[in-house]
Symmetry: D3
Subunit: 157 residues, 6 copies
């Protein structure tokens, strides 16, 4: 099964990283929630003061990063050393943007942790707006940057 390291002889496995060194790894990912006009309006009304919806989504993203190893079957459980999740409501573009950065000192990287944080933060935005409009869509969930490890630095162009 050639290039798929998660497979050996056609069987999935959690890749053995015992021989790798535990070094600093950082990954940043992003996602976008496309809003309907009703959702934009609801967020504009509701987005002032404490307890706003983006705050709930941000916390959901941070907590989800810690659950990545439970969700993604072949991911290693990693000792995360830092998580930042940010959300921006851009009413002009009718969207919410999410960016998450995760750090660890481990034998393998945290790309999946950053992507999972973005996915769950975006889903939480969806959850809070779904009574207003079911037509929302999550798009552009992807890696922006990673550093550390044998494959070195990578940046989306």
């Amino acid at each position: 099964m050639g290039k798929l390291t998660h497979f050996e002889d056609g069987r999935p496995r959690m890749v053995d990283v015992s021989d790798k060194a535990a070094t600093l790894r950082v990954a940043t990912a992003e996602a976008t929630v496309l809003l309907t006009p009703e959702a934009v309006e609801a967020l504009q009304e509701g987005g002032v003061g404490k307890g706003d919806p983006l705050g709930v989504a941000q916390l959901a993203g941070i907590m989800a990063a810690k659950k990545t190893g439970e969700l993604i079957p072949l991911c290693h459980p990693l000792p995360i050393t830092g998580v930042e999740v940010r959300l921006w409501f851009e009413p002009q573009e009718a969207r919410v943007r999410v960016v998450a950065t995760v750090k660890t000192k481990a034998e393998t990287g945290v790309e999946m942790e950053a992507l999972t944080a973005c996915a769950v933060a975006a889903l939480t935005v969806y959850d809070m707006l779904k009574a207003v409009s079911k037509g929302l869509e999550i798009t552009g969930l992807r890696l922006l940057h990673k550093s550390g490890g044998r494959s070195g630095e990578w940046r989306r162009e």
Copy 2:
């Protein structure tokens, strides 16, 4: 905070659904993983026989539907009565499509469960291909259809 039912006086809450009837609810969602040429090639080599990557992603999606209440802060824990997740590798379009349908008999719907199943299945595809190519992107994560409950049937047009 007007139309955001998850909020009362600016504070998030798990909406009280005690007065609603437990009825059949169904929701279907979808997502798409956009592949790079290297990822298409790797999947073509690895996608034959048992243990293929889409099988891993499918199971990850089913299991994630059961974790929705843990991931999305204001979601109710629901007694899911059925989950189907399907993935299609479309090499011509350089993509993997995911569709998930979730059912329950409960006081509230399973839109978030169907969306979460799609998101985690798509992330699992990403995970298995990330050693080949980091440039994948998850897009079009959205609700296709729901039925049951006070708001009745909804279908994306």
Copy 3:
């Protein structure tokens, strides 16, 4: 072991509630975090605007209510139908108060869910202030009110 229904012949068990009817159950609990002067000051500086510490603690409390069955060994897993958690910072009394109300339609009550929500919300307040002052203390974690079920209504006097 007389009055301890969780035990039979000296062995703990999850009490069989199969014969009980699933009816509406409500429980309200409270807790208090006693603050030091440094903690009061830090909360006063930090407690304005979105993302304030009490918002984090509130969400932690809501999510913890859903984890009660995992944490308390002999608790039944319950289909929670509503959760509200509120926190008040009372600088004059140098304390934060927490009150949580949980609802379900089930064969047994949600006292432990309300208490667990308060405990985790209070612990989260502690966590966010521990860099400022380790001398905080959580006190008065107790049930305020419950209704529903064979034992009927109970209210702390």
Copy 4:
């Protein structure tokens, strides 16, 4: 937001501890369950022989220490290297005392793990006695001692 390290520009985050050294950290916390006369009597009848309620609570506390990172939103997941939880039933004072000590070799401390172990052990005592008396109260949940890390040793006076 001045002294609240869990916040940056008003947004909560999991503080980046990548630059810190992984060293031995120890924390000890305590809690007290205040009993009613009926609860004292029930524990006296039930507290002999194996399977007694305090044994259940002790195990619940040990297992809860491992769940701290899931419960407290901004806590780091830590590789716990040891947990001890002890409970004393003091019928004269009509109370149960809980003391928990947690150890790790990590970049940050285990105060929250020790406090969470005490909280869940105390809640478990409450759970097993609530059929006898709902008037119990958990009090004095606080840190007793910590060592290790940049802030060094701290002991409650």
Copy 5:
């Protein structure tokens, strides 16, 4: 895939039980831990007084029953209404026996919950004895009896 209801067109799924009635379901399972002479001796020394190893295993089994839906990919999450786990140390036969009974009112049965409770209780016995002897073996993990549901009663002969 003929008789395997968990599969449709070669793909696993969580079988749709929405059309079934929620009725009382009971299942009882058993397992046996075969001991070495060193393990028998250690249990005989350690098995007196509170906190004995079988008490830890019993509680682990009860808690594991609640985690079945997380562990077994295609299992439905079920509202368990009662769990009993018993362990007997039989030094003459050099073994520990485990029997677990689980109840629910649901659309599908609790065989897997009873089996999972036995498996985890037996593994916990192993864990506590493994410093004494690694040669233990878990055997005879199987269903003894089930009742309720369309397939009615079943008893191992």
Copy 6:
């Protein structure tokens, strides 16, 4: 309580391993599912092509290894660095064999992780076949080999 290191003064504890060195640890375990003739037949019909039942069980075993610390009360949470689970359907012998190998770099070994992976993989085989035949039995769940740590290498003879 003599030789039971999990106990001190009759109370269970998570043994303090802070003083041990984090070194490479490997453990391999096995289990066998004894099949009935109906189960052999169902597996023969269903076992061809992708998505076969053993693939589901294999993934369940890998994911369960990561949950060991949650299931076994006194187990340390470990940073697993590799997991392999293999299943063989042996129709002639009317059985399915499971073998799991787990690796870590930690202060304590991964015997329980390998055993838990085998147990959950075997239970998943049971789950998928239970509609066909309830008479299956899991047997021979035991350690085959371990290396690393103070007690060195051990191999079942």
